[in-house]
Structures are given as C-alpha cells and as structure tokens.
C-alpha cells in the first residue's frame, strides 16, 4: 500500500466513517447470528449458548412448513437459474460475438435494465402482466418471474468471461474444419465454463433469496423460504426465525464466494 499523502487512509474522519458504515451494514446481521444460538425464549436477553432453535427449525411445530418452503425455493432456484444461464449465454453470444449490429448497445442495456428498475415496479408489473394474460398464480409464475430477473445476474460474469476469450480461437477452430457449432462446443464453451458456473451460482442465490417479486406473483398456499419466513414473522419474531435466517445468510455467503472464486478460475494452465 502506498503511504503517500493522497492515501485515502490519511483523510480526516476516514476511520470513524468506515466504522459507522460497517456498523450500520453488518451489526444487525451479526446480532441475528449471535442470538440464533441463544438458549432463551427471548429474542433480546442472552441466556447462554444453545442449538435448540436450530433443532426447532427442523423438528418444531413449523418445521413442515419450512421444509416445504425450502424445497420449493431450491426447486425454483435450480430451474430459474438454469434457464437464466442459458438465456444469458445466448444473449452474450449475440452481443459479444455477433459483430456490429445496430441495436447492439440497446440490447446490452436491455439485458441489464432489470438491475436498475426498482424491484417493487418489476413486481407490480409482473403481477399485472400475469393477470392480463389470465395466468393463474403458482409455481409457474414464480419460475417465469425469477428467470426474468435472474438473467442480468447470470449475464454479468458470463459476458465478462466471453469478452476475455479472444475470437481468434474460434477462428482457428473454423479454419481447422470445425463448424460454427463445433467451434462453440469444443473451444468457446470450455473456455467460458468458469463464467457460466459463476453466472449460474449468482442467479441461483438471487432466486433463492428473492422475497418481493415472489410475494407478489406466488399463488395462495405456495411459499418459498423468504415468504415463509415473512409469514412467520407476522405472528411475532421467535428465535427459530433467527436460526433459519442465519442459515440462509450462510448459504448466500458460500454461494456468492464460490461464484467469485469460480469466475477467477483459469482453466488454461
């Protein structure tokens, strides 16, 4: 690190602002994490270490509800992330390998647009859309909505990776008698695999964690893990909610870290 006078760490108030930001961002998560191990029934007073609330999640009165919701979430996330990844690869092929076409910039923007649109707007719009075409709400509506908003998350690492693969490799493959499709399967796809896995994982966890859009488009009686947690919280916060939240947080951290590590993987050495 540089020790010059322009080093950001020498600015007045640097330390206090940093600490404040960290506190606001992470203190609630840390507290939830700690209190999920509380032996007490209370959510505010500490009464020693215990795993009883984790046991409660799997065996308690609400465990069946959470189990169904968790399987729903997993099922939806796998399908939505798979479809979003395929769409993202196709979009990247067109935008990055499609040469210069007139709507290239716009296409690029459209793919990333859902990242900028307020989620509540997407949620309402999606709901209105399903109502307008007379689609009854249920698993299918959730999956379709999830595919739609997962595409930009899958697209980012995939596009970044594809940009890093020189097109001269595919040219060389075609020069050596490979068809366009063979060049894609044998050359581009293997070189892009880390980006594709990274994009899939990111889309997977985004789908897994989504509450707002899911809550709008899910039918009555269909719950995912986030909506089930929300439903449980409405009847008052119990420590088992903290336990299940901590587990979901842990999963998110693992998947996002994995996605980052995989995206940096060099499979050419």
């Amino acid at each position: 690190m540089s020790s010059s006078k322009t080093d950001v760490r020498r600015y007045p108030g640097f330390l206090s602002v940093t600490l404040l930001c960290l506190l606001v961002l992470y203190a609630p998560l840390v507290i939830v994490g700690i209190y999920s191990f509380n032996a007490s029934n209370s959510i505010t007073s500490w009464d020693g270490f215990s795993l009883r609330w984790y046991a409660e999640v799997f065996t308690g009165s609400e465990s069946e509800k959470f189990k169904i919701a968790a399987w729903n979430s997993l099922f939806i996330a796998i399908i939505a992330a798979s479809c979003a990844t395929i769409l993202a690869v196709l979009a990247a092929m067109a935008i990055i390998r499609g040469g210069q076409f007139r709507t290239r910039q716009i296409s690029q923007g459209l793919v990333s647009l859902p990242l900028m649109v307020p989620e509540i707007v997407t949620a309402v719009a999606t709901l209105i859309f399903f109502n307008a075409i007379g689609f009854s709400r249920g698993h299918m509506t959730i999956i379709i909505a999830h595919i739609a908003f997962c595409v930009p998350f899958a697209y980012m690492p995939i596009a970044a990776r594809m940009q890093g693969v020189e097109d001269s490799y595919e040219m060389a493959a075609m020069d050596l008698y490979a068809s366009r499709f063979q060049a894609f399967c044998r050359i581009l796809l293997p070189l892009m695999i880390p980006g594709i896995i990274s994009g899939f994982l990111l889309a997977f966890i985004i789908s897994m964690d989504d509450f707002l859009i899911t809550n709008f488009v899910k039918g009555a009686g269909v719950e995912t893990l986030p909506t089930a947690i929300f439903g449980a919280v409405k009847q008052g916060i119990k420590p088992n909610i903290m336990a299940i939240s901590t587990m979901l947080l842990g999963l998110s951290i693992i998947i996002v870290s994995l996605s980052y590590i995989v995206s940096k993987f060099d499979n050419t050495k």
Binding site: M171, A172, L176, Y177, R186
Partner: protein, 363 residues
C-alpha cells in the same frame, strides 16, 4: 520457371471494400502449386486482408478467388482445404499440445486415436514430441510457434497460409525458423503463402514475392528480380537499402538516358519506356554496387568528399557528398580479400559504378 505446374491460388480482380474504405484495389495474381509465395508490404497495404479472403474470414467484394480451379467464394472457412498459422498462434489454451495438433484431423472425421497418432507424427516433424502432453502456456514463444505450424500442417491442407508468424520471435530464433519453414515447405510439398512486412525475411525464404502497397500490387517476381530490377520507386525504396535520387533526363540516346543529378554531375542509365527528355524521374543505385577510389574507375565516376563512415560489422557504410550535388551511400563488405582502402572523412574520393547499376524508375 516451370509453366506446367498447376495454379494453386488464382486471384482475379479481387476488390475488398469496408464501407467507404477500399482495402484492396483490383488485385490479380496466381500462386503456383508447391511454391513458397510471399505477400510483402508495410502495415495497412492489404496483404493480411488478401490472406483472410483466401482463408474465408473475409468475403470478396468484387472478383473471384480460385483454389486449384474451383471458385471458393461462398465456402465458409471450415469447408476450404487451406489452413492458417495465425500471428498470435491462437493455440487452444485448454487443450494439450497433441490435442491442438490433432484438432483439424478430428474435425475432418478422423477418430480420436487416429488424430493423436497422426498429430504425434507431425509433432515429430517440428521436433516437439516430448512436449505433447503440455498445455500451450507451458511452452516458449518459439515452441508455441512450431505447435501452431504443426497444427496447421497436420490435416495436410492444399495451401498453408502464414500470417506474420515469426514477428513475435527474437532475431536469432526468427532466422532459425526462416530456414526451418523453407525446409518444411520443401519436405511437405505444400504451397505456402507467407505474409510479412519484413523484406529481409521475404528475400530469404520466398520463391516469388508480391510487393503490395496501399491495396495495390506493386511488383511480382522472384526475390532477385525484385531486388535487382525494381519496377518503381516504392519497390526500390521498400526492398533493401538504396540511393534514391531525383534526377532530370537530359538526353535519350541509343537506349541510354543521360540523367542530370544537380551540381553538374550526370549519370548514364539504361532507358526505360515512358521516360522523355526533360522529365524529372528517380534513379535507384544499391549501395553495395558502388565502390570508392582515389582516381576515376568503372564506367561512371562521380567526384565527392567523404562525410562519414558507419561501421556495421559485416559492412562499412560510407556517406559521400558529391560536389554541390546529392549524397551517396557506399557499402563495402568487411572481407579480408581484396585491397580495399578506407577513406577518412574529408578525403576526396570518386564514387564508381558499372553500367546498369543505376536504374531509372517510373513512379
């Protein structure tokens, strides 16, 4: 020249335009079977564009390209029996060296084991058998270059295209590869089309050279023809070192043109078509065709003063200023034979040449 040998590549009136920009202006040339043919020119002259058109990566705006008599326009690169050695090699980074070399064979329908066996044979040809299992990134630049060559040769293409393949190598390695390429071409009997901006490389390896500039063919011929008998100012200047002087034609007599150099000096050259008395043209004299002495010698002698001697190792380059006239550079080889005299700066000397050393150029 054997006129019986078939034509490998026949380019007829090929034009390439990118929007408003014309990269190739009506190029026509024929490349013979089993020939080491070089497209030579500065960057942006269209040589790589022409190569990519033959490979199938660029379409032909106008004109036709024939490969052994068949028109190839419309065929995608994978349907053309030509292979390319790319400038950056473009070795597949996720595959082993052997799988790289076998790739073309496999795509042509050979089984994996056949592709490996035949790939191994070609690797032996470029002396890289011991690296078969490595990834390209584990090889040196020179080794990668040879893998790229082996990969392009393995499917036994009818024509091998080489796009400045030696430009990334250091001088020693480049010299060695030039010889190796020439040998490989003779051994395999495959027609090579080599693209380079390095005139020395072109002279060393080629059977014939096409000199290109600004999308046009300037001259096509054997290395010796192009060096000794350049058609125009561009070719004379681009190939090798030369004394390029602007002169005015004073008299044309019996096939000889008497040219005025300025400062009262004149030279007699062989006249060429399209030159009239009074026109200003260029002449080219290669520095190694000149010799110095303290008394007039040879057919033509011009008096001047030595300005500078530049020691080049193999040669000595002497710059001589003619009295009130232009400068001449004279190259003397650094050999022990002969009794060559070195004139120090300031010494009065004569610059001498034999008939035919000075060549008149049409623009």
């Amino acid at each position: 020249m054997n006129t019986e040998s078939p034509i490998a590549i026949d380019v007829r009136d090929a034009v390439k335009r990118y929007g408003e920009f014309t990269a190739l202006k009506k190029i026509s040339l024929s490349i013979k079977d089993n020939e080491f043919f070089t497209l030579l020119g500065p960057s942006g002259c269209g040589k790589t564009t022409l190569l990519r058109m033959i490979a199938g990566f660029e379409d032909v705006t106008e004109g036709q390209i024939y490969l052994y008599g068949d028109e190839i326009e419309g065929l995608p690169p994978n349907k053309r029996p030509v292979n390319t050695v790319f400038q950056n090699y473009a070795l597949f980074p996720h595959m082993s060296v052997l799988d790289n070399v076998g790739f073309g064979l496999e795509m042509r329908g050979a089984s994996k084991s056949d592709a490996r066996r035949r790939g191994g044979e070609v690797l032996e040809l470029v002396q890289l058998s011991q690296f078969a299992k490595r990834k390209p990134s584990q090889l040196s630049g020179g080794q990668q270059q040879r893998v790229a060559l082996a990969r392009a040769l393995a499917p036994q293409p009818k024509v091998l295209l080489l796009d400045e393949p030696l430009s990334a190598l250091d001088l020693k390695l480049r010299k060695a590869m030039q010889i190796e390429l020439k040998h490989l071409q003779r051994e395999t009997g495959i027609t090579f089309i080599f693209v380079t901006h390095d005139q020395e490389e072109a002279l060393t390896m080629s059977d014939r050279i096409a000199v290109m500039s600004a999308g046009e063919l300037q001259q096509l011929g054997k290395a010796r023809d192009i060096y000794e008998r350049p058609h125009n100012k561009f070719v004379a200047d681009f190939i090798g070192e030369t004394n390029l002087l602007e002169v005015s034609v004073d008299k044309i007599d019996n096939g000889h043109a008497i040219c005025h150099l300025g400062g009262g000096h004149s030279l007699t050259c062989n006249a060429v078509d399209g030159i009239d008395v009074g026109t200003r043209v260029h002449i080219s004299v290669r520095p190694e065709k000149l010799f110095t002495s303290d008394a007039p010698s040879g057919v033509e002698s011009l008096k001047g003063i030595v300005k500078e001697n530049i020691y080049l190792g193999t040669d000595l380059s002497t710059i001589i200023n003619l009295d009130e006239g232009p400068d001449f550079t004279v190259r003397t080889s650094n050999s022990e034979r002969g009794n060559k005299r070195i004139f120090e700066p300031g010494a009065q000397v004569f610059v001498n040449m034999e008939m035919g050393a000075a060549r008149l150029l049409v623009d």
